[in-house]
């Protein structure tokens, strides 16, 4: 039985850690950047928004290629010795996930009535209090942005394979393990790992959806 294999739990834990950390970093980048894009007017805003929206459709394999080239021993960041490490996977996944969180956060905040910001200022909110209030107001679509960001990285394989190298006990995650098992013809293990990946994705999204819908009932 595949679930008795300690390697599976190691791989599962690494997948959750890497994708969870990448999503968290994407949130820390994407929410403030999405807020600036939604609330401010500055030269180049439309261009930046276009880049972000394009970034939402970045093919993971292209991201993997770019990050691998940068982190490769002869690459500009080769001195950091990050290629084929979990950190390299996190970097690639942040590049995939951050535009998703940024773009969807900007869209969520732009969907609010712009006069709400004026009303909050008129009630004596500082700029920071105003921003926190509108984040709270848009909490449902913002959680959806977070779920989309996590979904984009937990399920990607191309970037993890290219920058992580699928090294046993080091950088093997669920998606790269599924590819490996399929390549060696062990479909039973590949399917079991696939089911495990789906289960994890379901449980995390279930938790986030529960939080989201709890907020919706208020």
């Amino acid at each position: 039985m595949i679930f008795n294999n300690p390697d599976v739990w190691e791989i599962t834990l690494l997948s959750i850690k890497v994708s969870g950390l990448a999503t968290l970093i994407s949130l820390l980048i994407g929410l403030p950047l999405g807020t600036i894009l939604a609330l401010s007017k500055f030269p180049g805003r439309s261009v930046l928004l276009t880049f972000v929206n394009t970034g939402m459709a970045l093919p993971p394999v292209v991201v993997g290629l770019a990050v691998a080239m940068a982190l490769w021993r002869s690459g500009p960041l080769g001195g950091l010795h990050l290629i084929y490490t979990p950190t390299a996977i996190v970097i690639a996944q942040v590049i995939i996930s951050a535009p998703v969180v940024t773009g969807l956060s900007a869209a969520a905040l732009q969907a609010l009535d712009p006069r709400l910001r004026l009303q909050l200022l008129g009630l004596g909110a500082s700029r920071l209090q105003m921003v926190f209030s509108i984040w709270r107001e848009a909490r449902l679509p913002l959680l959806a942005a977070l779920m989309a960001g996590f979904g984009a990285v937990i399920s990607e394989v191309g970037a993890s394979m290219m920058v992580g190298g699928n090294i046993r006990h080091q950088t093997r995650v669920l998606t790269t393990a599924i590819v490996l098992e399929t390549n060696i013809g062990d479909f039973a293990s590949a399917i079991a790992l696939g089911v495990l990946l789906l289960l994890i994705t379901f449980l995390i999204n279930f938790a986030l959806t529960w939080i989201q819908q709890k907020g919706a009932k208020r």
Partner: protein, 216 residues
């Protein structure tokens, strides 16, 4: 009675053209001023300038004897209360909506509870205290928006069309309640309106804006 607001040569531009020009306007403390005029005449613009949300291109505004530009933005905005035309309530309970501005000011919790309870009572909506704002009627939402501003005990209250989009009965009842509250609270108030009835019922003074210009 001393002067709360004194405006001189105020000019506001939007998209390169003047949308509001006021040579001179003063209001004494405790007075209720109606700003009348058709749509697009600059009523909301005036209120937003007085809330210090829109910046004028020129002119001087004195607030309680001090030049407005010498008062920090946030400090000034915490001396006033603004109620915009649509109630613009937050997606939370009536209590939390009314408490919003007080919490921005870091007022102690016990005082927040007291003031919110007091103003819910005075506006006849204490039975709605725990109701989500999304489940209120238009009239109830307007009362919550007013309670939210009154609870701040502002030196200057700015109301943008406080009775718009209300049915006749809700409008009449709110006019009566607001009249009583304004008479008792002694809060300097400026409200915009289309309606002569609103002016007659509530205002001590009236100005008329036409095409962004003040007709005295």
């Amino acid at each position: 009675m001393s002067m709360l607001l004194d405006i001189r040569d105020l000019v506001v531009y939007r998209a390169g053209r003047p949308v509001l020009e006021i040579k001179r306007l003063s209001i004494e403390k405790g007075r209720v001023l109606a700003v009348a005029g058709p749509n697009g005449s600059g009523k909301t613009t005036l209120l937003l300038v007085l809330a210090r949300i829109l910046k004028p291109a020129g002119g001087k505004i004195q607030f309680d004897g001090q030049a407005l530009e010498n008062i920090p933005d946030l400090k000034y905005r915490r001396l006033i209360g603004l109620v915009m035309q649509d109630s613009l309530l937050l997606n939370c309970s009536v209590f939390d909506n009314v408490a919003t501005g007080l919490r921005f000011r870091h007022i102690p919790k016990i005082e927040v509870t007291r003031r919110v309870g007091d103003w819910l009572e005075r506006l006849g909506i204490s039975h709605l205290r725990q109701r989500p704002a999304s489940q209120l009627s238009g009239g109830e939402a307007r009362r919550v928006a007013l309670a939210r501003a009154f609870a701040l005990q502002p030196d200057l209250l700015l109301l943008d069309e406080p009775f718009s989009a209300l049915d006749r009965s809700s409008r009449h009842k709110l006019q009566e309640d607001l009249k009583k509250i304004l008479a008792g609270a002694n809060i300097t108030t400026i409200f915009s309106t289309h309606s002569e009835t609103d002016v007659q019922k509530l205002a001590d003074l009236k100005i008329e804006l036409d095409g962004g210009k003040l007709e005295v």
